[in-house]
């Protein structure tokens, strides 16, 4: 466990000292959402109607932006070889790096989302559910994205390949995330959507690190 926390701590320290990854994701998220009122026009009703979907799509894209580098630098400087030889199981290492990635890129999205919801004139009834869906959904994005990042390691133009590979897998998260908010806004209970999101998270938590580790073993061979 202490090894696991060591790795999380190292990745957080790297991210904070480099600074760019965390801020880029959240800046992209904000800019992406802000573009919509310019594109579809500043009509409050239309913006309120599309707010949930826009915020969720922007969150998907923002989390994708930094995923490419999840294992890339460790792969290039040889750290990944040493990680795979260390007593910490590679599955745990993948989970630790994914957790650090989520803390650095996912959590700022959750914090920024309510502000953007105000910007898009979303009804206040949806704010709580919005934060809840993102809190459940962004870890799934990091977990599934981690598999893609591991699979595309060492490929040329890995970032583009990663998007093509991962975005289709994000669709269920998008459906239930945006669906829960829509349900809450229309006076229905968001509970089934939230339960399904939690269910995906519970499945991805053990399976994604396992699949990611298998892909990394191929990459370091």
């Amino acid at each position: 466990m202490s090894r696991f926390l060591r790795l999380v701590g190292r990745d957080l320290r790297l991210a904070l000292r480099q600074g760019s990854d965390a801020t880029i994701a959240v800046m992209f998220f904000v800019l992406c959402v802000v573009l919509f009122p310019f594109g579809v026009g500043p009509e409050p009703n239309i913006l309120a109607r599309i707010a949930a979907g826009v915020i969720w799509v922007a969150a998907l894209l923002a989390s994708l932006l930094s995923l490419e580098r999840l294992f890339q630098t460790d792969y290039e400087d040889g750290s990944l070889e040493l990680l795979s030889l260390s007593p910490l199981p590679l599955e745990a290492a993948v989970l630790a790096k994914t957790l650090a990635h989520w803390l650095v890129t996912g959590v700022p999205l959750i914090v920024a989302a309510p502000l953007l919801a105000v910007l898009l004139n979303m009804d206040a009834a949806g704010f709580g559910v919005l934060v809840l869906t993102l809190a459940l959904g962004t870890p799934i994005l990091s977990l599934i994205g981690g598999i893609g990042a591991a699979l595309t390691l060492g490929a040329r133009r890995g970032g583009v390949l990663l998007s093509l590979l991962i975005l289709p897998l994000y669709i269920p998260v998008l459906i239930f995330g945006a669906g829960a908010i829509d349900a809450a806004l229309n006076g229905l209970t968001p509970r089934p959507h939230l339960l399904l999101l939690a269910c995906i998270l519970a499945g991805a938590l053990p399976l994604a690190p396992w699949a990611g580790a298998a892909a990394l073993r191929q990459a370091v061979e």
């Binding site: 790795l7 790297l14 480099q18 290039e76 040889g78 070889e81 030889l85 370091v220």
Partner: protein, 241 residues
């Protein structure tokens, strides 16, 4: 102290058979120097020994217990130093080293890291971020990992690249000390590193001259070799009788 053995090892990279039917045995205090021209499989053998690369045939064993039956035990015995230095540019030398020491299970990684840097003769770089280190300093930092996170078997892939003469002499002393304590060393090198009483393994003796492996079934084929420097030698070997 256990004995590390390999029997009938065969290694395939892409569609090229690198070596075949290779046996070795290292006992406590032993040293094995891998010799051979570029592309003869020295790095591949070290990666096989480390467990990064699976041999397509043959097995590695500790005291007769095959490595696949106890992979965790194997990882605890091995420290691998490859071509890449695994130095993070934004972490200081001491932080870089302490992380690897902690991951290996050291009780006081920060103290281990400082002591190891001191032994490698570079205590002054402890607070310097990785991006300001010279190639030689990075290499010393990487070698310091061997001391900060002790293991019985050192696997060293050309450990003296970028090191100056004084550092090589210092490193020879560390290897001798490690062996005197019952440790084992496998290293590949193109410069002379003194390993008194060590065995030599000439990898070109195990090279399968002739056709590329298994063109008919094509299993595992098609993967491009990641080491570009191997390519010219591959061509040369295939042309050889």
């Amino acid at each position: 102290m256990p004995v590390f053995t390999g029997t009938e090892l065969t290694c395939l990279r892409g569609d090229r058979l690198v070596f075949t039917g290779l046996d070795f045995r290292i006992g406590p205090g032993g040293a094995l120097v891998l010799l051979g021209p570029n592309g003869s499989g020295k790095s591949s053998l070290l990666r096989v020994m480390a467990g990064l690369l699976k041999p397509i045939r043959g097995q590695l064993a500790w005291d007769g217990v095959p490595v696949p039956e106890d992979p965790d035990g194997h990882r605890a015995q091995v420290q691998y130093v490859g071509h890449l230095d695994a130095v993070k540019p934004v972490l200081t030398a001491a932080e870089n080293l302490a992380f690897w020491a902690a991951l290996a299970g050291a009780a006081d990684p920060a103290a281990n890291a400082l002591a190891a840097l001191d032994r490698l003769g570079v205590p002054h770089i402890a607070g310097v971020p990785g991006r300001y280190l010279s190639a030689g300093q990075k290499r010393r930092l990487n070698l310091a990992r061997l001391l900060a996170a002790p293991a019985a078997l050192w696997l060293l892939d050309e450990p003296t690249v970028a090191l100056d003469r004084a550092a090589i002499a210092l490193f020879e002393g560390l290897i001798a000390e490690h062996r005197a304590e019952g440790g084992m060393v496998v290293l590949s090198t193109h410069t002379d590193i003194a390993t008194p009483g060590g065995d030599e393994l000439h990898l070109d003796e195990f090279a399968p001259y002739g056709e590329p492996y298994a063109e008919d079934d094509g299993a595992e084929g098609g993967e491009p070799d990641t080491a570009p420097d191997l390519a010219p030698d591959t061509a040369g070997e295939r042309a050889a009788p």
